[in-house]
Amino acid sequence: MTALLKQKSVRDAVYQIGFVGALLALIVMFALSARSNLEAQGLTSGFGFLARSTGWGVSFSLIEFDSNDTYLRVICVGLLNSLFLGAIALSLATVLGTAIGVMRVSGNRMAELIGTTFVETFRNVPLLLQVFFWYAILTALPRPRDGIDLGGIVFLSGRGIYLPGLNVGGGAVLLVFVALVATLGLWLWLKNARRFARMAPARKVRVSRSLWLGWVLLAVALLWAGRIAGTDLLTLPYLKGLNYAGGIRVSPELLACIVGISIYGAAYIGEIVRAGFNAVGPGQSEAGHALGLSTWQTFTRIRLPLAIRAVMPTLINQYVWLFKSTTVGIAVGFVDFFMVISTSINQSGQTLELIAILMGGFLMINYSLAWVLNRVNDAIRLKGTQLRS
């Protein structure tokens, strides 16, 4: 026996079996003890509860939902809400963050001062505190009757922000979104696939332009076709009794999350963008100036594209991290994926199954986000002879 253990291969096998076995034993122990606990409460494990109706409603959902609908549907509602919040907050954070990053490398001391103050203020305070702060400010706005009127188009009140909207059915909006995803997929295919590698670059640009133009035309056509009959295409909010009618209501919960996450994210993205600009060598813009390009042209055609490419891998991690942070929405009562799961756990008691769905959902979202962004990175990154510093 001891002689056998003196062989390295045997010892290695014992270590590995021991390690993996211990982890498996831990999982089995959890599962067994969970089952006995559930049986003591009279609950059956399994995913059958997904078809039961919930009996409770949600305050915000992109698809139709009422309390007779099933758990499966409420989970879809939460997932869609999370994706919705993530898409808006991440895009705003990118725009604002790029602006802040550009200000910090602009060479103008006053702009640098503003950028630095922004980054240091919002990066050094927890996101949760910022979301609480914006939520408190938004709910402390006056009642709808005394709401703040911005040009008769936008109204600010403690019940939410009212914006003008389009009278278009949800199906059409969904189709526009699906078309957007499909166009993005086709564009990435065109950029990456080997079968288009020999296409002339000018033709490639033309094809991709017509691809995007096609999407815009399709979107306009879909929105026109999907408008709700008997109403104007555009709907404006107006005061009716104690509240507003018409328009789109953005709840304080959603808005606090959007504002908080985009500002917090912008502070981080601004730092990343700044690092990207610093990574572009001074020779690049000097060469641009030598060729007679203006400062603006050098910036938009040379420095910005190179900086974005330099920081794309870091940005991808940042996006995944920011998306995970949308879960703070639960603190102010925004119905996101995490909140739906935790309410379902309270109501149905199917703890393990719901936790498994939560983990599966986040793994799926994060991996697909990282996958898509990595494909974008592959499509735009510099290859071979394009590499210069």
Binding site: D12, Y15, Q16, F19, V20, L23, M29, F30, A31, S33, A34, N37, L38, S106, G107, N108, R109, M110, A111, L113, I114, E120, T121, N124, V125, P126, L127, L128, L129, F132, F133, A136, I137, A140, T295, V320, K324, S325, T327, V328, I330, A331, F338, S342, I345, T351, L352, I355, L358, M359, F362, L363, N366, Y367
Partner: protein, 356 residues
């Protein structure tokens, strides 16, 4: 004739930084006006028109022009100490001072050895725990349910770091193990935990774990959350350490092997010291994030400094003063986080000089 270099005068520097061309001048004036307006309204609100003392709280409320710092004057004990018994709050304050002192001392080079830093942190942590919990030396006992405010934030941060750092070393070593099954399984575990939100991990440990653990292992809710957070921290930190290990030249470990050093000697004397040095800037960054995200325990129902801030303006007497309270709590976080991140930046510069 050799030209001598003249450093630019102050006037030249100002001209280059603010007014180098027409666009630059326009930007300076526009942004300058914005900064002046922002500073003026901030000072007007926060200093000139502010109410400072709780005695004249009638002066603030709806329609007041300035900030109502009276709420801080009246409620600072609640924000800093939570529900800790009033007569014992000096202990909570002293415990915070001890923890800050430990943090400050570990920034000094004389403490940068594994043994000393471990002794410092374990000693400081024990002092903190004895002060907070009591039951020794004639101090009355105060249970964890009554802990709150800044000392709870510091307690969670310190225990997560203390628990997570050794765990991170173990995870990183397991992940780079030569044995494929161990390395792959550990990689799977780390990647899975890293792709989950911290909040869901805290929630799982606080609410769900009692279901799946046998009763004798359950423990207090606070400690379960800390263990969950430490696990999350360890997974992130393990990846940072792995990055630091990969930056080591392979020759280092091969030379140690050639000299006949055992695995533990190689790791303890060759690999880990250099790894920590390589990984110091991202580690500080991770500590900064960890400190900020202790605020998430407020959602799970703990009374740390953010939650006690919420409670401070939660009464009908002060319900208008949310901005002032959040500014105060933000300032507390800012002081800690800013100091830590500046220290990280200083270390990075110092190391850049050293490796030149």
């Amino acid at each position: 004739m050799a030209r001598t270099y003249h450093p630019p005068t102050a006037l030249q520097r100002i001209r280059r930084g603010y007014f180098s061309n027409r666009l630059d001048t326009a930007m300076t004036l526009g942004f300058g006006a914005f900064v002046a307006w922002a500073l003026w309204s901030l000072a007007d609100w926060g200093i000139v028109n502010a109410v400072w003392s709780a005695e004249n709280r009638e002066a603030c409320g709806h329609g007041a022009e300035g900030a109502c710092w009276a709420v801080i004057d009246a409620r600072w004990r609640l924000i800093l100490f939570g529900l800790y018994p009033f007569e014992e709050q000096w202990r909570s304050a002293l415990a915070c001072v001890v923890m800050v002192l430990v943090g400050g001392l570990s920034c000094l080079p004389p403490f940068w050895s594994a043994r000393r830093i471990a002794a410092l942190w374990i000693g400081g942590f024990a002092a903190f725990y004895i002060l907070m919990r009591g039951g020794f030396f004639g101090l009355p006992e105060v249970f964890e349910q009554n802990w709150g405010g800044l000392s709870l934030t510091l307690f969670i941060f310190a225990s997560v770091t203390l628990l997570g750092m050794p765990l991170a070393v173990v995870f990183a070593l397991l992940r780079r193990s030569d044995l494929p099954w161990i390395a792959r399984t550990m990689g799977l575990v780390i990647d899975t935990i890293r792709s989950l939100p911290l909040l869901s991990i805290m929630f799982t440990f606080a609410i769900v774990l009692p279901f799946v653990l046998p009763g004798w292992l359950t423990g207090d809710k606070l400690y379960r959350v800390i263990v969950g957070y430490a696990l999350f921290f360890a997974c992130y930190q393990a990846e940072i350490l792995r990055g630091g290990m990969q930056a080591l030249p392979a020759g280092q470990e091969e030379a140690a092997k050639a000299l006949g050093m055992s695995y533990w000697h190689r790791i303890g004397h060759i690999v880990l010291p250099q790894t920590f040095r390589n990984a110091l800037p991202p580690t500080i960054n991770q500590l900064v994030i960890t400190f900020k995200e202790t605020s998430l325990v407020a959602i799970i129902g703990f009374f740390e400094v953010l939650a006690s801030g919420n409670a401070a303006y939660g009464t009908s007497e002060w319900n208008f003063a949310h901005v002032e309270v959040y500014c105060f709590v933000a300032l507390i976080y800012f002081v800690f986080v800013f100091a830590l991140s500046r220290y990280g930046a200083y270390l990075e510069r110092r190391m850049a000089v050293a490796s030149r």
